[in-house]
Symmetry: C2
Subunit: 545 residues, 2 copies
């Protein structure tokens, strides 16, 4: 522990030197009007790779070392504590040029000089720039400790104007007016309907994605469902009985809990757009998240309604309680064979990471279909029926299908392609990010990998030279069950940067246990809806001299 | 019919003109000592695409038109019918330079000038060059008709020496001495053990591969099993009973019949060798074939021995009756969950295309594991047991696994990779072949596509420009059942050759219903054993001016 302490102080001193250099760089950047490029501090420890581990170490480090390093701030904090700022003023301070301000409760802090020393990396603190820290501290409870508050106090510059409470302007004619408040870290691709993804630096911070930053893919306004009057209608089989299940009724079925990764078919669509325009939201690498779901098994509920597997092909159709102005509800279906297979573990989930489902994720009940595209995990579930054919919903028949690159909107025949169910193997790099500058010496590359259909990821290959040579990454996260690998694997590779290298073309590709691989390039899998974008993920980074 | 007849005579006349031109080309080639490049005749009809259809039309065509076209051969046939030739002499006539000879019964024919007019294409007749026609006529019974014999008679040049019966030299010390006689069309990759594949031009001629040319992958000498004394030993579960089943006993289980494609993990290994040396047989595109299998379900047999699915992972281990000099038998295993799943349709097969299994394919009983790599379809099955771990056989644990391109024989850790079970999506072009010259105007591209795990092939994209632009091929062959797409789809694309094009870089890639795709290139999936070679298949062809 003593050694660790000494090492920390040493590293903190190094970090402070880095900080000084960087301050000069910033000034230079301002004077030449160049854009701000956050520098990554060398404050990571190669000996402890788990993110919680890093936080813990960092917390300790701050408690022990902070006093030494920031004595100069104390005076300034004392001098400036009487100033009053509006929220608007705070929100305009989001860059080194303007200063980087945050709030906690009614206090305002200028953390410009601390950003590069933030143990979780500058980019994570920057997510809170111009606004409150609370939503982020709620995600990372390690912050809520006296030594962190003490440290922060040194940066206090004033108080929020107590009268500055912005009353939200609710347009009652706006169908989205009742949508829930979202976490500020989410990168919004569309406000109405709300579609947003966690930033890469948070996405793989945890094996289980915290509910507030779980990617959100809504097709319509979020319905406001009263849990007391909620009923799930299950159409009975011929000779069986139709069910109208309250939440309490659903809780009476045996409860199952599974960890499942959900991915939108449009994840990484932005890379397809770079090849040729597509119709769809510009998802980057974050339309994927993992949660621990709890609920009743769909097969148990269907059995109670008298359904059983039949020789002929049939489909379980789901309808959401979200609907468009004409009253058309979101809908989708999955094959009955999957629904009735206990091994497929399809859930009617009412819990997400131990909590009731958040409104954005289907409160009070959503379908969770492990290994299958997100579009079939119908939220705000209202009705379940078994039909000889797939759901007639737009989203089942005229969307979420893959086509040849040669097919355009003039030639597309949606009936010619099957609806997407299982998804192909996928992986992406979340750290470092494209365009970033990494330190020379050693680089840590992190990301996620997942495959559909319960196929486990067995290997992730990483290249620093655009795919000419490869190294095998270390798989983190939970070992998956055979044939039930519903959740992703996080992975990382710590690797020396070849001497003299000025840039790296980092590439990752995953292999699943059916030995399926990702295609090399995007263009040959381009399709007019921009779905199924699972080519090798590539980031180009500069190496600091 | 009359119209058809007129069209045929017209095309035959065109073909004859082509023949004359080609004869000149051949002479020219001989004089400049260039290698023989068979020309493809324009004798295909775009209106009828099925291969059997083509054969039927061709048969009729020959019956009607042959007399007109080949009167000049009659005289020569009469003159030369008294010559006597040895088998050795016949077998030395296999090229246009030497003449192309074949035999039928005791008669010898010089078919040099007929080769380019062969309705099935010159390459198929060339397979029989220098030897007997019978093995090929056995495959394609349409030949055995009076008008075909009449046509052939025109090319007769003599008789085989009746004393020229080569006694096979059997070395009794040779463990392979009792291997069966094989079809001469097979392209042999290894004689001992015997490993051979059908040539591309025959591979996709039929949806069901005829038994004699089904690819053969033997690891050891072929055992000679007496069906009367044959017993299959099934180790019983604790509390169950071990079984010793005769062939008659196996026949008493309910019989199931399914069409299943088998593929060797090493199919298309020769393309990996072009990247970097690998250890393994140089399979081209033919280590894949399709048969209709009949037999008892493994789950029924296991149930009779008292086995049932258990919560803990278990494996069904198979042992063949083929063994090496130390007595070690071929062995492999599959997960118990697959074996016990009636939907997985794992068979103990005793029939192949309505016949008892040929010796090369496991007589009297082999395992057929739909959707799974060929190596687990253990032949000459002797013993079945259920174990907590995978088979300890070399072929389960130290072979048939995939690795990163960075892994070599110094660094390989076989325990780090799972044994190959399900195979990834695959496709290949069988027509035209690499290096071939195609006619300008229109080209017909044919091939096969298949995926493991019961995933259906939903699309095959074909490119003529190396992958820049794509067209969707037409899928032939049987529509597959959902989740039980055990058999391949044949496909074809008839497409105009862009004007002025001197060469084509033809590429194919398939997509399965999990929207898995093939990788673009070979190098990034290269592995030291050369397995799982499923990159886009590419052939380069010249266009005739």
């Amino acid at each position: 522990m003593l050694l660790l302490h000494r090492a920390m102080v040493l590293r903190l001193q190094q970090a402070c030197r880095l900080k000084s250099i960087h301050s000069r760089l910033c000034i230079q950047a301002c004077s030449t009007n160049e854009s701000f490029q956050p520098q990554r501090p060398s404050l990571t420890f190669s000996g402890d790779n788990s993110s919680t581990g890093r936080w813990r170490v960092m917390g300790t480090l701050l408690g022990l070392g902070a006093v030494l390093a920031y004595q100069d701030h104390r005076c300034r904090a004392a001098q400036e504590s009487t100033h009053i700022y509006t929220k608007a003023e705070v929100s305009s301070h989001t860059s080194p040029e303007t200063g980087i301000w945050v709030t906690l409760g009614s206090e305002v802090f200028d953390v410009t000089e601390f950003v590069d020393l933030h143990p979780g990396g500058p980019s994570k603190l920057m997510l809170a720039a111009g606004g409150p820290l609370e939503p982020f501290w709620a995600l990372y409870a390690v912050h809520d400790q006296s030594h962190v508050r003490e440290l922060l106090a040194q940066y206090k510059i004033g108080e929020l104007n107590p009268e500055d409470k912005v009353a939200p302007t609710v347009e009652t004619s706006d169908p989205y007016a009742n949508d829930p408040v979202r976490h500020p870290a989410l990168k919004v691709n569309s406000q109405r309907p709300f579609n947003a993804e966690p930033p890469p630096e948070l996405l793989t911070e945890n094996y289980i994605t915290p509910n507030p930053i779980f990617f959100t893919r809504n097709h319509l306004p979020v319905p406001n469902v009263d849990p007391d009057t909620y009923r799930l209608h299950v159409v009975g089989a011929p000779g069986g009985q139709s069910l109208s299940l309250s939440l309490d009724d659903l809780h009476k079925f045996p409860k199952y809990e599974i960890t499942v990764t959900l991915q939108c078919a449009g994840n990484r669509r932005s890379e397809m757009t770079q090849v040729k325009e597509v119709k769809g939201l510009e998802w980057r690498t974050g339309a994927i998240s993992t949660a621990h779901w709890g609920g009743a098994r769909l097969c148990d509920v269907l059995a109670q309604a008298g359904h059983q597997l039949c020789e002929t092909e049939a489909h379980v159709c789901f309808e959401g309680l979200d609907s468009d102005p004409t009253g058309t509800a979101y809908g989708a279906s999955i094959p009955l064979a999957r629904a009735m297979d206990p091994e497929a573990e399809v859930l009617l989930a009412y819990e997400m990471n131990g909590q009731p489902l958040p409104r954005d994720h289907g409160f009070p009940v959503r379908v969770v279909v492990p290994g299958v595209v997100g579009a079939r995990h119908v939220k705000w579930l209202g009705r379940v029926s078994v039909q000889p054919e797939e759901s007639y919903s737009h989203w089942q028949r005229r969307d979420y299908k893959g086509f040849s690159p040669s097919v355009d909107w003039d030639t597309v025949d949606f009936d010619s392609a099957p609806s997407i169910q299982e998804l192909p193997v996928q992986s992406a790099i979340t750290e470092p990010q494209d365009g970033e500058t990494v330190e020379s010496g050693e680089v840590t590359i992190r990301g996620y990998a997942w495959s559909g259909g319960g196929r486990a990821v067995i290997r992730v290959d990483v290249s620093l030279d655009g795919g000419l040579t490869w190294q095998v990454a270390e798989l983190d996260g939970e070992e998956q069950r055979p044939r039930k690998a519903w959740a992703w694997r996080l992975w990382q590779l710590q690797v020396p940067v070849p001497a003299g290298q000025k840039e790296l073309n980092i590439v990752c590709k995953a292999v699943d246990d059916g030995y399926n691989v990702q295609p090399d390039t995007v263009a040959p899998i381009w399709n007019l809806r921009g779905v199924l974008s699972n080519a090798w993920h590539r980031v180009h980074v500069h190496v600091a001299p």
